[in-house]
């Protein structure tokens, strides 16, 4: 069985990329494939609390974070240096990696998909 990393790097509200990346993660999990997530760049916006997008702006993907445990998706990694995140309330289930850990993370999976 292959261990998969889904890397989200796109803005959650500018395109469907994050949504379709997360959909793929849910399908992998539904088929009992081990899958972890990592976030960088504009995709980090998913983490901030108190999002209230309108239908035109898109689905509230932040809400799905709390549901990931039901899919056995337990590891969501970000890089530690995103200090702006610590200035506002964010989702608490993330794991912070330092730069070296972040870089070695990618080689620990048989496959990485980017969205």
């Amino acid at each position: 069985m292959k261990h998969t990393l889904i890397h989200l790097n796109s803005s959650p509200y500018s395109s469907l990329a994050c949504k379709e990346g997360l959909d793929f993660a849910l399908v992998l999990a539904t088929f009992e494939q081990p899958v972890d997530l990592c976030l960088s760049g504009a995709a980090l916006a998913i983490l901030t609390d108190n999002q209230n997008p309108t239908a035109e702006q898109g689905k509230n993907l932040h809400k799905l974070l709390d549901g990931l445990e039901f899919y056995d998706i337990e590891n969501i990694f970000i890089e530690k240096h995103h200090s702006w995140l610590s200035n506002q309330p964010t989702w608490q289930g993330i794991q912070l990696l330092n730069e070296a850990e972040w870089q070695t993370m990618f080689s620990q999976y048989q496959q990485v998909f980017r969205f």
Binding site: L26, V27, A29, T30, L61, D66, G67, F70, Y71
Partner: protein, 106 residues
Amino acid sequence: MTDNTVVLDEEGYLLNLQDWTPELANQLAQDVEVELTDAHWEIIYLLRDFYTEFEVSPAMRPLVKAVSKKLGAEKGRSIYLMTLFPGSPPKLAAKIAGLPKPANCL
């Protein structure tokens, strides 16, 4: 038969999620020959809470886990859900609970 003023899609899922009422759930269940008991209702409301909370209709595995967590391990088994909602529990229960069809539910 289901009230004509409520619009369902080709597969019998509610087009407008706000149209759902418990009475409608009873009608939708009758249409597929399921008699709703308290055991059904606790799953229906759990599903509706799941959707409100996470904005996604769960497939079988997450549904089983959610039932297990909220209603206990005895009910958190696919065989139990199959007896209540025969065939595909996530699809049938989502239909009666007025949720979108679970995506990628094979």
